[in-house]
């Protein structure tokens, strides 16, 4: 279990004489990450994600606050104890950070130097086969593709059987297909090794793909945290909404609205709304039921089903037309069925 309590990290400003300009990279963050979780931390560039994750293994020493890992207060450790503790926390990076002068084998062997030679060989081979890159044992990093490099970096990070793996933008330098493969590998490792994984990213896609829980970070603070499908289906904060929109097809409606496309014209009395619901299979009966029950024409103009941490999240953009009071009743009905309704255009109001 990783427990951050009131963690603060400031950086002195470039302007040394003006302390008020110091950068609050991490501003009073408290966070709990359970064993075996895949926990996402998402935020725009400069939000403080890297600084926060570096506070977990104390690459960055917090100015105040507590960092506990399995009950051990990291900030109180003596240097030697800290080095030992870090061996149990793997870390991978956007730029892979493999040592260019060492072969794949020697890179993975780097953290194993306390072992006898024969054991090192056995362990390295084991790790390389775990990440499915055994054939590159004698290659140099410069001879590998990005995805292969990240596999080697994962093997190296896992060398000392850590319980935690920190991933700082681990897939941000990879193409979408390779990203998918690496995320799948992380998912598998989480399942087979019961590895706790902390995923730092600025891509909602990544969080959606592998995380069960996530926190949204902005200006050094955690502004929203919870189950990913909760965050996804019901974002509270504007920043979160923006992130959700970056991956959802339903966000296209915003563009259409902005362009005032013919697709999104509503006639007087009509209401256009976005409906978002968990479990897509409930969508169709709901809409057709409402249509019949309230005697409305419900025209679906966009529909999208997302798989968020293995849960289906569905969304549609619809135009209700019919009696205005009935439309309001239908909206209430949807809300009662746990569907989030967001009115995008209401001709009765806009006229």
């Amino acid at each position: 279990m990783i427990e951050l309590t009131h963690v603060v990290k400031n950086f002195s400003s470039p302007d040394k004489h003006d302390a008020s300009k110091s950068i609050h990279a991490v501003n009073d963050v408290s966070l709990k990450i359970n064993d075996g979780d895949i926990f996402g931390i998402i935020g725009f560039s400069g939000a403080g994600k890297s600084t926060l994750v570096r506070c977990i293994n104390l690459l960055e020493r917090p100015d105040s606050g507590s960092v506990k890992i399995d009950g051990t207060e990291m900030t109180q450790l003596k240097p030697k104890e800290l080095y030992a503790a870090r061996r149990k926390i793997g870390m991978i990076f956007q730029q892979f950070n493999l040592m260019p002068s060492r072969t794949v084998f020697d890179n993975v062997a780097y953290p194993l130097k306390h072992m006898p030679k024969l054991e090192i060989q056995k362990r390295v081979r084991e790790l390389l086969s775990l990440v499915e890159i055994s054939d590159k044992e004698n290659s140099y990093p410069s001879e590998l593709s990005g995805g292969q490099k990240q596999r080697v970096a994962i093997a190296r990070a896992l060398a000392n059987d850590p319980t935690i793996l920190l991933c700082d933008e681990a897939t941000s330098a990879l193409d979408p297909q390779t990203t998918g493969a690496i995320l799948q590998l992380l998912k598998d490792l989480n399942a087979t090794l019961n590895l706790t994984i902390v995923v730092i990213t600025h891509e909602m896609e990544v969080v959606k793909n592998i995380c069960r829980k996530a926190a949204v970070m902005d200006h050094g603070e955690i502004i929203e945290t919870g189950d990913v499908f909760e965050i996804f289906s019901n974002p509270q904060h504007q920043v979160t909404k923006n992130f959700v929109r970056t991956t959802s097809n339903l966000s296209k409606i915003e563009n259409l609205l902005r362009e005032n496309s013919p697709m999104v014209q509503v006639k007087p009395g009509e209401v256009m709304a976005r409906l978002v619901y968990i479990y897509a299979d409930v969508s169709d009966p709901l809409i057709s039921f409402a249509s019949r029950e309230f005697d409305l024409v419900i025209n679906i103009i966009l529909a999208d089903v997302e798989i968020v941490s293995d849960i289906m999240v569905g969304g549609t953009v619809v135009i209700f037309s019919g009696d205005y009071a009935k439309i309001q009743q239908a909206i209430e009905y949807f809300k009662s069925k746990n569907v989030r309704v967001e009115v995008l255009k209401d001709a009765a109001i806009s006229e």
Binding site: L59, R86, R87, F93, S101, P141, L166
Partner: protein, 226 residues
């Protein structure tokens, strides 16, 4: 052959024992001063790298003191260093002349230069590698040996080559204050007594030595680049 050389290089062939002695003296100066410079420069370069602001063993006072000392010695022309350090040389080595007597000024002349070269070689190390090593539980000392030095073999080799070559020209200058060596040999005969053949042979020899050092360094650097 002997006949041919004697005709081509009359002055040199009459002084072969002295010539060999000069070569040996130069090599001795280069080897002694070079080895000491290598160790000192490596240590200073590392200290500069790790103690500078943002370094893995940040220590402002130590960094600033070392930085200032190195700048100071780098700004003093070698020919002045040679005479200014005579008392120190007498104290440490027991003499201020011959090969023994110029080792101290040679070290003072070349070590600050090499320290800077090492510092800039180490500065090329990707910060991410340091970070990765620390995240794997390496101590700062381990980071120095297993990352900084290990990953900088090629640039440090190039720095060594450059320093060795500049040291060679310092040894020639040291000849002027009675250290012996090829520089002294060329000045005393080639220049003062106008024996052109001696000047030419010395020049060719030095060019060959420099090329050899450069070739060796480049070979080694390339072998360690992947």
């Amino acid at each position: 052959m002997q006949q041919f050389l004697s005709e081509l290089l009359p002055n040199l062939m009459r002084r072969t024992p002295e010539f060999w002695k000069a070569i040996c003296d130069t090599l001795l100066m280069e080897a002694w001063a070079g080895s000491i410079c290598f160790v000192i420069g490596l240590i200073f370069g590392i200290i500069l790298t790790v103690t500078k602001p943002g370094g893995i063993m940040e220590n402002r006072p130590l960094y600033q003191v070392l930085d200032t000392i190195i700048n100071l010695f780098r700004s003093i022309p070698f020919i002045i260093l040679l005479t200014a350090l005579m008392p120190l040389s007498r104290w440490i080595m027991g003499t201020a002349i011959y090969v023994r007597g110029v080792i101290v000024p040679l070290v003072f002349g070349a070590a600050p230069f090499f320290s800077r070269q090492v510092e800039s070689a180490l500065a090329q190390t990707d910060k991410g590698l340091i970070e990765a090593a620390l995240s794997m539980g390496s101590s700062p000392l381990e980071v120095i040996f297993r990352v900084y030095l290990r990953e900088s073999i090629a640039p440090i080799t190039r720095a060594t080559t450059i320093t060795a070559i500049s040291l060679l020209s310092l040894t020639a200058m040291a000849g002027a204050v009675g250290a012996g060596g090829l520089g002294d040999f060329a000045i005393r005969y080639g220049h003062d007594r106008n024996m052109i053949d001696i000047t030419w042979v010395t020049v060719i020899l030095l060019v060959l030595a420099v090329s050899f050092v450069q070739w060796l360094g480049e070979m080694f650097a390339r072998k360690n680049t992947h």
